[in-house]
């Protein structure tokens, strides 16, 4: 286990979420759950973040924003889809402006379903993503996987 999993910093983006999952994400920072005890910080700056939390389904308007945030994040990084809307689009998946879940746009590493996803399951999802973060770092140091991934997304 390297330092990567001891200090994961988060950026949280609300892609057409109803705010339910967003409130639960922010609830993780409160004294009750206090994710800072695991070294998790909410940065609000993609250049400092390791984990990209997305809530809500992706639509045509915020597609560019999500790609922009993702491309500004230094490697290695992971994407966690929070809530059933970010996982599959849920009841909104047939809407004319909705593309669907986050995985239609970006390679999602961990899905946290639920409506709204509970803080316990969000923390669980983030902790699960740490192992993926570690393995991505290993791949990055052994090959040029990360650079390929950037060109694929952009």
């Amino acid at each position: 286990m390297s330092y990567l999993s001891k200090s994961p910093w988060i950026i949280h983006y609300d892609a057409s979420s109803c705010n339910g999952c967003d409130i639960e994400v922010l609830a993780c920072l409160t004294p009750l759950y206090d994710v800072e005890r695991f070294g998790i910080l909410n940065t609000g700056n993609p250049k400092h973040a390791d984990i990209f939390l997305i809530t809500g389904s992706v639509n045509e308007q915020n597609k560019a924003v999500i790609l922009n945030i993702y491309n500004q994040m230094p490697k290695p990084n992971v994407i966690v889809a929070i809530g059933i809307c970010a996982t599959s689009g849920c009841v909104f998946r047939e809407c004319y402006n909705v593309i669907g879940g986050v995985d239609k746009l970006l390679p999602v590493d961990v899905y946290v379903p639920g409506c709204a996803a509970r803080p316990e399951s969000i923390i669980d999802g983030v902790v699960k993503s740490l192992a993926i973060l570690e393995s991505k770092h290993l791949k990055m140091t052994s090959g040029n996987e990360a650079t390929q991934e950037i060109s694929k997304v952009a």
Binding site: K6, S7, P31, E36, G39, K47, D50, P74, M140
Partner: protein, 286 residues
């Protein structure tokens, strides 16, 4: 023998200051969390953070922006080196200012609106704290008749007894230097995401780690200044430095952030009344 001692001191500073600075930062985060009713991160969390940042990819807007951060770190280390081998106090202050200027230039160089605002606020902060730091050096000179740190430490009486006003004024601007809450304007660390992360917005990975390490060094140097006020009794001086750091954490957690106008005005009034007042009284007494 003296030179050997100085080399040892220099070595102790180069290795010990980041360790102490990081540890202090960890204690800071733990105490802050407890004050907010949270469990808080491990004491060694700042070291984990920096360790992680070194594993990350470096993303830049311009390649030259990282060079300024390297100079920032180098000049902070030079400042500390001069201070801890007992060099000239004025030189220490000027080297620290130069380091600060490199940090501001880095903010301007990374050409993001957030880092621009951060850099401008950092300049205002320097405007606010610089006079008091200079007055502190002048006060120490008036009492000890020397600008040399070694001579100031060797002075038989505690400087706090003759420079109480200057000490209080220095405490006031220390909040700005430590980037603590009422005056945490340029990095916006606590007013989360107001200007994202101010100067540090566009710095990622290893460069951000260098900024963190420079701040660790800086904090240790500033606590060294507190040490000078009690230098005739080393144990008391170390206790005073620890107490001042604890006081800063309390201030950080109890005060809402102020605007820059209040910062500049209040710190100049404090400098004028406490700093200049202390110097005037001192000059009449002598």
């Amino acid at each position: 023998m003296v030179t050997v001692n100085r080399v040892l001191l220099l070595f102790a500073f180069l290795v010990g200051a980041p360790l102490l600075g990081g540890l202090l930062m960890g204690i800071d985060r733990k105490i802050s969390a407890r004050l907010q009713g949270r469990f808080g991160p491990p004491i060694l969390q700042p070291f984990y953070d920096v360790g992680k940042l070194f594993l990350k990819q470096t993303l830049v807007v311009r390649r030259s922006q990282n060079m300024f951060i390297v100079f920032f770190l180098v000049f902070v280390i030079v400042t500390g080196a001069i201070f801890f081998v007992g060099g000239d106090l004025l030189l220490v202050i000027f080297a620290l200012t130069l380091a600060g200027i490199f940090f501001v230039l880095a903010g301007y160089k990374s050409s993001s609106p957030y880092s621009f605002i951060g850099a401008q606020r950092e300049l205002l902060q320097m405007l606010a704290y610089e006079p008091m730091i200079i007055l502190a050096a002048i006060g120490m000179y008036m009492v000890t008749k020397s600008f040399s740190v070694a001579a100031i430490i060797a002075h038989p009486t505690a400087l706090i007894t003759t420079l109480p006003g200057i000490f209080l004024g220095f405490l006031y601007i220390l909040t700005i230097k430590f980037r603590k809450s009422p005056f945490d304007l340029s990095l916006s660390h606590h007013a989360h995401q107001e200007i994202v992360r101010g100067i540090a917005t566009e710095f990622s990975g290893p460069t951000l780690a260098l900024i963190e390490i420079a701040h660790w060094y800086e904090n240790v140097i500033l606590l060294g200044f507190i040490y000078l006020f009690f230098a005739n009794d080393p144990i008391l001086a170390a206790l005073a430095a620890a107490l001042v750091y604890f006081l800063e954490i309390i201030i950080d957690n109890t005060f809402a952030r102020a605007k820059w106008q209040l910062m500049v005005k209040s710190s100049w009034i404090v400098t004028l009344v406490l700093g200049m007042g202390n110097l005037l009284i001192l000059s009449f007494v002598r």
